[in-house]
Each structure stands twice: as C-alpha cells, then as structure tokens.
C-alpha cells in the first residue's frame, strides 16, 4: 500500500524556534489545559451527582449551585488554556493533526457548536443560583453530556492522528468528513482513562471548595471535603483498572515502552502509580481526621506531579506511534530572534499581571474584600 506516501509533506517554512522549545511549551500548556478541563468536566459531573445523590436535598442543591457557579469560569479557562497546546501541536504535528481532523471534519467542526451550547447552558444554570433549581439540573446534564462528547471527539482525533495506517480506508470510503476512529482498540480505554481522571481531579476541586469554606461554614466544608475526597479516592482506585486496560490495549511494542523498554517512560509510569497510591493513602487519612491541609495542599501537590508525569508519558506514546513517519530532525530550524524574545517577555509579564489581577481580586490567596465573594473565578483558594 501507499500509506506512508499519504503523510503530507511539511510546508517550506522552517520551525521558528528549536524543536525542544515547542515541545516544552506543548507539554506545559497541555498540562495546564488538562487540569482546567478536569476541574470543569469533573466539577460538572460532581455537581449533578451532588444534586441527585445527596441524602439531604438542601445541601445537595447548595453543592450543585456552588459548583455550577464556577463552571462559566472553568470552561473558558479550559478553552483558553487549550488554545496554546492546539497551536503548538500544529507547529510540530500539523501533518498528522490536520489530516485526522479533515477525516473527521464534521464531528470536529461540531465541537464548536456543542461547546457554545454547553457554555450557554453553564451560564444558564449559574444565573439560577439562589433560586429554585427548576430546569437547572436538566440543563446542566445537557451541558455535561456535550462536553463529555467533545472529549470523546478529541480522543478520536488524537488517536486517528497517530495511526496514519487507518487514514486511506476512511478517506476514500467517505471524503465528506463523517468519520470517527471507533475501530481503534485503544480509543475507549484511552477516553475512559481521561474521563476517570477528570472525575478524580474534579473531586480535588471540591476539596478546594471545602478549603475556601473552611473558616466560614465548617459543617458544609466538612461535607464538601468528604464528598470531594471520597470521589477522588474511588475514581483514582478505578483508574488503576482503567489504566491497566488502556496499557493492555496498546500495541505490544508501545506497551513495552512503559514496562522496561524505555527507561524514562517506565520511570514516569512508576512515579505516577506510586504518586497516585500515596495520594489515595494521604486522602484517606485526611478524611478520617478531617485534615483539610493534607487534603487540599499535599494531595493536590502530589497529584500535580502525577498529572505532569502522565502528560509526558502521553507525549512519549505519541512519538512512539509516529516513529515510522515522524522525526524531530525533519525540521529545518530558523529561530525568529526578532520576535521570540518579545513573546517570552510578554509571556512572563502576562503571567505576573494575571497573578496580580487574581490576587487583587481576592483569589489565589490574595486579600479578600469585606464580604465573601458572590462568585469566583476558577481558584485554588
């Protein structure tokens, strides 16, 4: 077959900075994006769980709306933090990414429509906070289903971009962009792996809310801590099963990268597993003793390391998939010194300005105003 001939050629323009810099930016911004996404998706799912599974409807509704009010900020955080990795993935992997996107063009395009509807749904629900829930639960459900589906389409696109051997059959059978990658054996395990992580990290977001309420309303904060902490623990335990299924579903040579063949990948997996187990252990202790500090500081710190390990592993897996078609050495590099320093300066300045803005508002540990905030940005306070 002519499958390797299908891989699009690079365009004539060189990389405007060294490969490693784009790789670094890609991994770091993906890491931030995935955390925001987890808070948003996990937060949305847990809001529904809180509402429909609470023993006490009043506290269930309160949790529901407390979470719901955060979503109109968490969704743009997810989108905004997602733009950067989407940019950098196009810089390095455009040949694969554009192609897979075109093969599933309609689902990919519909992501935008679904995102818009889900977003307005989140706003609708947040504006009803303090009133009777009414249709808020149903609207929230729709929005959560939509963002869940968006994630599924992303998993389809990413897996398809990494398996060029599947392209020809799909395209020549259907060039009108109505393909998915459903026959890919790793698709569902991979997607489930991300979804389960979102629930677990969503649990941590609830723990952050417990921390924010700790001094104001101890009883409610305690409920949040138990709910978030337990969710985190159970989801992470489930992740051991899901993660193993994902690993087993990988082609053997790729699987073996994480089981000895590639020392870095193997180490990262071990650190990830150890970290996750340590986080469960610590969280279990924190829930027993009601130690918010452990639950909202130490566990998330460990978890951040775990997510970073997973982000790097994800990247190693992509490069392993693309090994037959892609080499970093393929790029000519002509660093744009006339503009790169400007970006780096603005990036650093932007981060500082962002932190100042958040802190002056009373977020991220900044000094708070006289009254408790009615609404907040995505925050870790």
């Amino acid at each position: 077959m002519m499958q390797t001939n299908l891989i699009p050629s690079l365009d004539p323009n060189p990389l405007p900075a060294p490969y490693w810099l784009f790789k670094l930016l890609l991994i770091v911004t993906f890491f931030l994006h995935i955390i925001a996404m987890n808070f948003m998706l996990g937060g949305g799912v847990l809001a529904l769980v809180a509402k429909w599974r609470a023993k006490n409807p009043a506290s269930g509704n309160r949790m529901f709306f407390d979470l719901a009010r955060k979503l109109p900020s968490l969704l743009p955080a997810t989108i905004t933090l997602g733009i950067a990795p989407l940019l950098f993935v196009q810089v390095l992997y455009g040949q694969f990414f554009y192609t897979s996107s075109i093969l599933m063009a309609w689902p990919w395009f519909l992501v935008l429509v679904m995102l818009t509807v889900a977003y307005y749904g989140f706003y609708y629900v947040s504006f009803r906070a303090g009133e009777k829930p009414g249709k808020a639960g149903g609207v929230m459900l729709c929005s959560v289903v939509l963002v869940t589906l968006i994630g599924f389409f992303f998993s389809n696109n990413i897996t398809l971009s990494q398996t060029p051997s599947r392209w020809a059959a799909k395209y020549f059978a259907n060039p009108s962009g109505w393909n998915l990658n459903l026959s890919e054996p790793t698709l569902f395990p991979r997607y489930l792996h991300f979804f389960t992580a979102a629930i677990a990290v969503g649990g941590i977001f609830v723990v952050f809310m417990a921390l924010a309420n700790w001094k104001r309303d101890k009883e409610y904060a305690g409920q949040l801590l138990q709910f978030g902490g337990k969710t985190f623990m159970y989801a992470t335990m489930a992740q051991f099963v899901v993660g193993v299924i994902f690993l087993v579903s990988l082609p053997r040579d790729l699987r073996m990268l994480f089981m000895g063949d590639n020392p870095l990948a193997t180490t990262l997996l071990l650190v990830g597993i150890t970290g996750a187990m340590a986080a469960i252990f610590l969280m279990s202790g924190a829930l027993r003793t009601g130690n918010i500090r452990v639950a909202a500081v130490y566990v998330p710190a460990i978890l951040a390391v775990v997510i970073l390990c997973m982000s790097v592993m994800r990247d190693i897996l992509r490069d392993a998939y693309l090994r037959p078609y892609f080499r970093p050495e393929q790029f000519a590099v002509t660093t744009q010194w006339a503009v790169l320093p400007l970006f780096l300066a603005l990036f650093v300045g932007g981060v500082i300005l962002w932190l100042v803005m958040m802190r002056r508002y009373g977020l991220l540990g900044g000094k708070k105003g006289n009254e408790p905030p009615k609404a907040q940005m995505a925050s870790t306070d």
Binding site: L6, P8, S9, L10, D11, P12, N13, P14, L15, P16, A17, S73, P76, I79, T80, L81, A84, L86, L87, Q90, V91, G94, Q95, F97, Y98, T99, S101, I102, L103, W108, F109, V111, L112, L115, T116, Y119, Y123, W167, Y171, P175, S176, G177, A332, Q336, A338, V339, F343, L346, F347, G350, L353, M357, M358, R360, Y361, P373, K374, A375, Q376, M377
Partner: protein, 525 residues
Amino acid sequence: MNYPVWDVAFGAGLLIAIVAITHVFVSHFAVGGGLFLVLTEQKARRANDAALLAWLKAHTKFFVLVTVVFGAISGVGIWFTIGLISPTATSNLIHTYVWGWAIEWVFFFIEITAALLYLYGWDKLDACLHQWYGWIYFIAAYLSLVIINGIITFMLTSGAWTKNHQFWSGFFNPTYFPSLAFRTAISLALAGIYALITASVQKDAALKARIVRWSALWTVPALAVLPLLGRWYIHKIPADVWASARGPMPTGTEYAMLAVVLLIVAFVLALLTLVRPARMHLAFSLLVALMAFGAMGSFEFVREAIRKPFVISNYLYANSFYSTQIPGDGGFSVDEVNAAGVLPSAKWVNERDLTATNQVAVGHEIFRVECESCHTVNAYRGLRHYIELRQWDQNKINAMLGGLAFMHNNVMPPFAGTDAERGALAAYLNSIEPVSAEAAAAATDGETVFDQNCSMCHRVNASDSLFKNLATDPAAAADSLKDLTTLFPLMPDLKLTDRQRAALVEWINKQRSAKEFSSTAQGGN
C-alpha cells in the same frame, strides 16, 4: 494534493464565510465594547448616575455572554475551520506566525480573565480597582487585534515577505495600518450599536435617552470616518490585487458597493435614533445591528474576493498550490505539477493511472484536489450551473480549463497538470452536466456566442483587446478567430462554427459602431 480535501456538499468557502463573518461581528464588539464599558463607567461614576451604572452592569453581562462565549469560541472556530479547509495555508501561517499567535494568546488569556473579573467585580470591587480591570481588558483586547491584524493583512498583501521571509516584513505589510485603523473604527461603531440593543429594553425613558445619545457619540463619528479609512485601505492595496475586483466578474466591487450602501443605511439609522431616543424600540436597534452586520460581512467578502486567486498573496493559491516553485514546497507548485502530473504528485488520490476507461473517476479526483476548495458541483459556486448557462461541451470545457488563470480578471489559479489530466477533468465536468457538441454549437446570435465563449475574459469595452484588435473586415475577422492560439498563445483553443464566428464578428462590429461605445462601458456576462 498534500492533504485530503473535506468534501463539503454546500461549499467549503461558504462555511468559512459563515464562521468568519459571525466571528468578526462579535470580536470587533469585544474590542470596542471594552473601551465603551470603562468610559461609560467613568462617565456614570463622575455624574453619580446610579441608573446608568445599573444598566452598565447588566450590559456587562450581555457583553460577556456575547464576546467571551460566542466571540471566543467562534474565534477558535475560524482556526478549526481554516485547518479543515486550507490545511496547507494554515500550516504555512502557523510556521511563519506561531509567535504572533502565541503573543495573541497571552493577550487573550489576560483579556478573558479581566472580562470575568470585571463582570463579577461589579458587586465586589471598589470603583477604582473595577475600572482598572476594565482598562486591562480593553488594552489586552485591542492588542490582540493589533496582532491578528498583522496576520490577516499579510494574507492579502504579503509585502516583502515573499522575498525575505522575515516575520516583521510580512506583519507590517502595506495594508497593516489602514486595516488596523479601519477595524478600530468598526470596533468603536459596534460598541455603540450593541449598546443600543440593551438600551432599547430599558423601561426608564430618561435613562434610555441618555444611553442612546451616548451610543450615538460612538457610532456616528466612527461610521462617518469609515469611508475615508476605506479609501486609504484601498489606496494601499496594490493595483494588480484590486484589479481582480473589476472586470467581467466584479465580485469585489459589488460587495464593496453593498458595504457602502449598508454603511450609509446604518449611519442614517444611527442618526435616526437621536430623533426620539427615549422611544427607541428593540426592533430598531436590531435593524441597525443587522445593517452593520451586512456592511461588515460585505467588507470581509471584498477582502476575500480581491485576495483571489491567492490565499496568501503571491505565494499560495486558494487551492493550496504554490504559485512559484520554492525549495521545500513538496512538488506542489503549479510548474512542478504541470511537469509531473497531478496523479503522481498528489498524496490523496485513489486513482494513480489514467486510462481510457477511468477518465471521469480521475477527473473527479482532480476536481476535488484542484477545484473543491472554492467550488461545489451543485451548490456554492456550483459548476453544473455555470456549464449549463454557457452550454460548454467537453471539448470547450477542456479548452477553457487551459485559460483559467485569465478568466474573470485572474481570480482563479491556473489549471495544474498534464494535458491528459485536463482532459479527464473536462470529462468529469461534462459528466455532471452533459452538454453535447451540437448544443454547444447551437447558439447563433452574436451576443449569445460572446456570452458563452468570450465573456469570461473579455469585456464589451473599447479598450478590451478583442474589441480593439479584431479586424473590422468581417471575413478577415471571422477568419482570424479560427485558431485563437495564433492570436495569443495563452488563449483557450476554442473552435466555433463558421456561422458562430460570422455572427460574433457581426455583433462585435455592431458594438464598436455604436455611439456610446467607449472605454467606460460595462462588461458582459
């Protein structure tokens, strides 16, 4: 060629247009509206106008719901869509301007955060700090326009970039500043126009009147200055680029006229709001917005229309072929594909060999890689309709494909490929709208012959080469039209019947002898 082609039944170009136009209508509001928010807050606080402040708070909510949600997602949407429809152009742009986009992303991040803090801060922050968030929002939003404007204008007028490939050469290209000024004025006008919408539903008549008058201060001067800025913009566009907007298919001119008309209507309507500001109705404000939307959409259509046949000027054609051979182009320049052929060059075609029996199938694949980025079969810029209108049979199509680059004042890229491949494309196009040789030769009145065969390149105009150079003696003229390629080697090799040639010459002579016939006469079609 290099990438698969997304076969959008109703037209890929139309899809981009829909996403892009709805986005710009909101994104320019996101810029101008930011300044509107802070200056209105300042004005209300200075005047101690509690009612105005209360309205502004509600208006902020509207602003965020429109710009942060729809504006942001549709902006990502343009990016998604161009990647799906013009992946080669997108890849070139990304590799050239990734740091521009990265800088824009920093501003965007600040912008979104500031917008949300400004919205939520109405109940929480002291006045001074709140306004600071507003200012940060506006400055970041404006700077994101400053950046993206460089990339958009680069596509229209790539300036010295095609020679030196320097970031800033392409960025500060000939149309950068007029475009920035033009878009700034649009932003300010839209700030006032959107404000009319939320003002119109206010019950407090005095408040409504205050807001309407204040909005007019934004809308009226900004709309008034737009024609001047538009002149400057057009002035900076190279003549050869703007030329494609004239001639036999003056799409650019038509949309420019439409933009001007709608702009005038919007201007008059904006002035009319001042007649009875306290009674301005929601429907009226929506009408103003609709006119502005139409004007803005038309303007963007002009930009897209005059950019043709390029997607990146003097570099990449709209169908993703490079206009000249450059190192690293992957063999996808027109010259290389002419030499090597489409089938051996293209990555995403299924048929690799052209035989006597698979002409139509091969032609379909060539249609997809060469034509489908702009044309469809039946819908947007549908070729079936054009072929039916002009009654082209397969031979005529084949001949016309040889002259694509000259048709309609150079709005199309040339056909790239071998003669046999061109024949296959003609066979496919004939299969979608079969016209027999007899039907193609059926027209016998001169005007119809002209419309069907000549009007794509020639205008009924004294300065047009056909009308200027054709011999006046009927027999000699008809004789000279027997073999067009001897007249001019790049003309399509059309074969008209004796009767058609005679009728055409007679009609042309009639036009030439008409008194009013001059170099300013309008074109055919």
